[in-house]
Amino acid sequence: MSVSIPGLEDAGCIMLFGYNPAASHPIVARRIVRAKQKGAKIIVIDPRYIETARIADIYIRINNGSNIAFLNAFANACVEGGYIDKEFIEEHTTGFDAWYETIKKYTPENTQKITGVDPATLRAAAKMYATSETGSVLGYGMGVCQQLQNVETVHTIASLACVTHNIGRPNSGVAPVRGQNNVQGSCDMGMLPNMYPGYQKVTDPKVREKFAKAWGVPVEKLSDHIGYRLTDVGENAAAGKVHAFYNFGEDPLQTEPDADELKKQLQGLDLLICQDIFMTQTCEIADVILPGTSWGEHDGVFSASDRTFQRFTAAVPPKGECRHDWQIFSEISTRMGYPMHYENTKEIWDEMRSLCPNFYGATYEKMEGLGYAQWPITSTDPDDHGTPTLFLGGTFTTPDHKAHLMAHDWEHPTELPDEDYPLILCTVREVGHYSCRSMTGNCKALSVLADEPGFIQIHPEDAAARGIEDGQIVRAWSRRGETYTRAHLNPRINKGTVYMTYQWWVGKCNRLTLHHTDNRSHTPEDKFSACNVEAIADQTWAEKHVAKEYAELKGRLADEAAAQEVAPKGEPVLA
């Protein structure tokens, strides 16, 4: 996020594009309610009439898969209406003419067939967003990122913010809100195939030299090329490129697309290591399972979505033989000939800070109790809490410090609906559950509020055409697989599309989703594939069937985990 979460309240206008904060981040939705109470204008653009649409000044129902066409027309309306800031464009951006060459082809009128949006409403929204005196924030989420043209859409959003000067000044910017508590942190820490910690490129020889020196390894030992992406692990395993997969605290068989195919691919690996706190579906097929400590049992720092580092502390001792994750990595590394040893998380954090100039000022002392540090933060001055808003004054992180405007042509999604698979499938979030559900599914209140086989949201007219009633178990299937889940008739969604929350193990939407990733970010196109849904006449059978599947799955995982109750026999494995 170029803006901070608290700062959202003071924006003059908040435009949400493919982002449903009430389900993904209720605390962010709260800030938007408060912004509205303070007089902000709210624009919501989404195929669903989401909670925030209820308080929106303008709501636009956009067709699934039409993001680039819509945003190009939106930018076109901004130029045509005279809402762009020519001075800012001149001084702080490059490439306007080439950008406009593409944008001018997309008018509100000629894109209406693709987007389904009335030109007058689009123009009104463009005016509202672009002309807010206080400043506008453009919030987006997975509705942008899990599409075929995800990177292109992010380029287009950033360019739109630049030409209307809704970035580079207070109370304005772009707000991609991260889904998991520490996705921002994983990226900050260099859990990326192209970046060292602090967003320092692996392909930069100077960066490699710095890290080689700090880590005491010859620089030739550090790989000079970009590594593989997680979303390609299945294909790489099948192609014989990857032989071992060390899976730390993730459950790809629940969260990645086309789960049945991925399972086969991972089963073919020479070695699958899972380091986790729960017996997940991925742990079930692992060769080795290493018990890490849980949140609540260790100390550390998380990075919130708005770049805020905050400390968390251990409340209870580790269960059983669980060890801290960093201890486990250090011990394996030592055994493999590269000794690592740390006494505590502060020692690790301080080493990291010394290598990342943008994080250097985030000391543990500053983050004691309710303290925080928002990067970039270079000063260790206890009163300096960092940078709530990025790019103030229009200075960007490019070599020429200017924003490079980018526009792209619209392409249709990969798998369009057809006669056999007439419905669009889009994956969404369950408000009371999280990620693969291994954590929230083990919490009593949250599991009572929503449980298997999960839900498929379907428009009442699509349901009526199939004889489906609210609350009934239905069968949903695609070219990849099938699943049984519960119909939720929802008049707030658009006709022709069904929405499945991705937290369910029995009603698993990733049996259906298409595994297609884009070339740049390698993100799966989870928001668009084709499927069909049908009613099941015998609901008694259906209820029993899903209950049985659920009981069997839980029983299987409990049986696998039961192995840990039997003390080791003492025979060395490697003998």
Binding site: A29, E51, R54, V431, V448
Partner: protein, 183 residues
């Protein structure tokens, strides 16, 4: 003193069900049923939780043939005597808000110190205003947009007074006497 009740501000509600989770957790102890006593309800344009209104002339109390539901003026509410409930569901039918439910649980059939078997015991599930909770209703405290509030006689009177003031604000325009429109 009139009964109290919990009311939502639907404009501010974000439909997140935090109230339901807090309610469930509050009641998940001392043998109570782990079920939320209010339920967030969605229409095309409105999201808001629905809970017992603790009516002053409560249809559920009137409909209950065994006195399992009763007026509890000391606590300004409609209260429950679970031991009397026979699960007839008259209250479920009588409640105009759909805010009362009956749930059964298998329990041992005991006489003295002897267990004779099991039976299905019925329970009335509805808002009890968390009268045993010093901080007040769990849902009101948990609501992160401050959409929920506990309405009592004073609050209701303030609201009425404000509405009367708003209603009369433009009435000067209707005056037959010149000059009376000065606000």
């Amino acid at each position: 003193m009139a009964n109290k009740f919990i009311v939502p501000d639907p404009g501010v509600c974000i439909g997140c069900k935090t109230c339901m989770a807090a309610c469930l957790a509050k009641h998940d102890r001392g043998g109570e049923m782990a079920i939320p006593r209010l339920s967030v309800t969605y229409t095309l344009t409105v999201s808001a939780p629905v809970a017992c209104h603790h009516c002053m002339d409560a249809p559920c109390v009137n409909a209950c043939p065994v006195g399992a539901l009763y007026e509890d003026p000391a606590n300004h509410r409609v209260a429950i005597r679970q031991e009397r409930c026979i699960g007839c569901r008259s209250c479920v039918m009588a409640c105009p808000f759909g805010a009362v439910d009956i749930v059964t649980r298998t329990e041992p059939l005991v006489a003295g110190c002897e267990v004779f078997g099991t039976h299905e015991k019925a329970y009335v599930i509805k808002c009890d205003l968390c009268v045993d909770r010093p901080e007040g209703p769990a849902c009101v405290q948990a609501c992160l947009t401050k959409s929920l509030r506990l309405m009592d006689e004073d609050e209701l009177a303030r609201m009425q007074a404000q509405k009367r003031t708003d209603a009369v604000a433009g009435a000067g325009e209707l005056s037959s006497i010149a000059g009376a429109r000065i606000a």
